[in-house]
């Protein structure tokens, strides 16, 4: 309808937030088409109106914003999804991104930051606010390829395995069930990303854990 203006739909479970955002965004090239406090209502509207952008909260009373993001992307691939949430957990952020979100910002964003983010996303960028950028750029230990940390029990078992002891023998010596030992051995394989005992011992040797 308004060719020049970016059409926006707001989905947030707090109407006070919606009101705040509306007052923040109204004017200029932005046009708030609709706002919803529940995911399913929003979904129908978005499918029908196909807005340019959806400001999506994670906390919704009926569905999770993460899931809703994927749904929106499936219904209207052209619609950008900018997540505006209080969640700063890396996994939540990563999952929304995996579900096709085009940006992720925390709710303590300034008006300027918000507008900036909207225009960036509309320009096709993946946008994060500063804080989120910091969170997702923090690398995990494994991605760095460092030797994994071993618990004391794992070290014990690794030594015993290296000495050629069987699961049964280890279990009876440590006074735990064979299933427990079996689980430890399996976990060690995962930890060193190996497929058999020989590899395991080799890698453990490489990291001088034996």
């Amino acid at each position: 309808m308004y060719l020049d203006k970016t059409s926006i739909v707001i989905v947030d479970d707090h109407s006070i937030v919606i009101e705040g955002l509306k007052s923040l965004l109204d004017g200029d090239p932005l046009d708030v088409l609709g706002h919803f406090t529940s995911g399913n209502e929003a979904c129908d509207f978005i499918e029908r109106e196909r807005p340019d952008l959806v400001l999506l909260d994670i906390n919704l009373p009926d569905v999770s914003g993460i899931d809703l993001c994927r749904k929106i992307k499936a219904m209207a691939p052209e619609t950008k999804v900018l997540v505006l949430s209080n969640h700063n957990e890396r996994n939540i952020i990563m999952q929304t991104l995996q579900n096709g979100a085009n940006g992720y910002m925390l709710k303590n964003i300034s008006k300027q930051g918000l507008l900036q983010g909207i225009s960036a996303v509309m320009a096709g960028e993946i946008h994060f606010c500063n804080e989120i950028g910091g969170i997702i750029s923090k690398p995990t230990k494994y991605e760095l390829g460092d030797p994994p940390y071993l618990t004391k029990r794992e070290k014990q078992i690794l030594r015993m395995v290296a000495d050629g002891e069987t699961t049964q023998e280890i279990a009876s010596r440590l006074n735990v069930s064979p299933l427990t030992i079996e689980t430890h051995r399996r976990n060690l394989h995962h930890k060193f990303q190996v497929k058999n005992v020989a590899e395991l011992i080799m890698v453990a040797n490489k990291h001088q854990l034996l």
């Binding site: 937030v17 009101e19 999770s64 957990e89 996994n91 303590n108 618990t151 427990t180 079996e182 689980t183």
Partner: protein
Amino acid sequence: MIRNPLIILLLVLGIYICPAQTPLSGSTYADSLNQILKNAGNDSVKARANLLLSEYWYNKNNDEAHEHLTKGNELGQNYPYLKGLQLYYEAYFYYDTDKEKSQSIYLTADSLLKEYQNADAYYYRSKVWRRIGALKQTLDDEKAFTDILLNKAIPFARQSGDSVLVGDHYLALGIVFKNQRQLDKAEEYCLKAISALRNARAEPGVLAKAYYTIAENYVFEEKYAQTKAMLDSAKVRLSPYPDSEHFLRYYAIEGMYFTVVGQFDDALVSLDRGIALAQKRALKYEEQTLLFQKFYVHYNDKEYRKAEKIFQFLLEQKEIMSLAINKLQIYQGLTETYVNLGDMKQAYEWQKKYSTLSDSLHTSKLKSDINALEIKYNNAEKEKRIARLEAENKMASLAAHNNRLANWLLGTISLFFLFVVLYSYFYYRKDKKLAFEKEQNYRNQLTKLKQDQQLMSAQAMLKGEELERKRMAQDLHDGLGGILTGVRINLSNVETKVAKTLYEEVKKIITNVDKSMKELRRIAHNLMPESLSRIGLSSALEDLCKSYETLDFKVDYQPYEIQSTLTETEKLTIYRIVQELLNNALRHSKASLAIVQCSQNENKFYITVEDNGIGFDPQSPLNQKGLGLRNLDHRVQTMDGSINIISEPNDGTTVNIELNVLG
């Protein structure tokens, strides 16, 4: 007064005469036997002849008798049957001297002869038994004699078919009954004897004997007419043998008969004839007994002088005087005679002698009676003693037996009681053990029940807590969270519009609102980690670990094969456990690194939280189950799990938890 002694005398004489059984023919008999010996060629016949001769010569010439017996034995050696006969004749040699031996030989003879069922054998067996009976008679056992005669001798004699022998046995019976004064019985048997003997044409002597015996019996029965007839019959039989000894007996009885009928002269004639015969045969005793009878004839005839003379004569004769009973009768007779003669002095003398003798006889009789009695008594005593001893023995053995029995009984009872006691003891012990086990069991059950109750209340409490937290988190989020966010956005809107002078103030307010929001979010998240349902357990745990990280405290999260099938409650419990452990590590350990490892294998979920901090002593009571640990315990128990804490001072702390999940 006078008749009694007379009768006694006759009885005595009768007994003495009884065994004499010599054939009337006398030496003719021996001669004919000798003839047989000479002429016969058969040893058996010779043997028999010898044996008969031995019998004939016995008491006449014993040497001769022995010689014949030996010869008979020798000749009869090859004839087994003759052995019995030989014994019969041999026994006769001991008949007077050794009655016991004689009897035993007779019995042997009978047992040998028993094997043969011919007339001869029966004949000898009859004779054998007659002799055995006679032996009994000499021992005063008249009853045994009659029994033997009736049951043995007479039946055997009948079987042998020898009527003479039968008659002879009857006669013997008659004599016995006559002597016992059973006169009608005696008469009966004597008549039987006479009839048997007469029919068999027996030797005249035997028949005569039967006649004069019955005659004597008739005298006693006072049947004088029959007496005379019988005496006549006897005399007819004896007349061809005037020298026969049977006449002695005959004259004695005839004399007795005439005496009792008062024919004293006839009596004297008879007796004198007898005396003459006795003198001729040199039989002194018989002569004197006849004289004895003569005394009574004179006495009864009142010829006291003549009577006195006879007794005075007899006083000198040793044969008759050898018998005390004769002496006594003579003394008595003399006393009576002198009384009748009026010679009182003599009468007194003889009376005195009679009394003395009578006394001594009585005394001796008494003595012997007493002796016999004594012996009897002694025997009885002995028997009594034996009986008593036997009884005592029996009693003793019975007592011993009883004792043994009692001992056995006692032993058995003791054993039984021992068993009972042992059984009771073992039963008691078992029972006690059982009771103890039962009690233990109950106690365990009680403890378990208590624990279960505790667990249930803990679970209820935890559940209530979670619910309350969830409600609070919801309230915080919906209410305060929404308002704060709205305020924050409005502030962002205002920020751009305020004047430069107020800008700084607004900026401060915005920062504080941001802080408030963050704090609210943190609180709400702690209260209820909504990310659990949004992004799953593993991610939620990872975020949880991240949230604990600071510059000085690294948390290494290691998830392995956590399944998405866990229930909401399980997820929340696991999340809370990890949260609790991290809280503890952060608060107390002063560690720089914590490893959080969560892994699943089938329906087992393992949690390990290990730090490199200062550790603690798990044994110290200070560290035993603080509030946090107790909550941890409860949470672990709700998932039927186990918790294991390993820690040493300055060597970090490891908490291993194993949970059971439905997945």
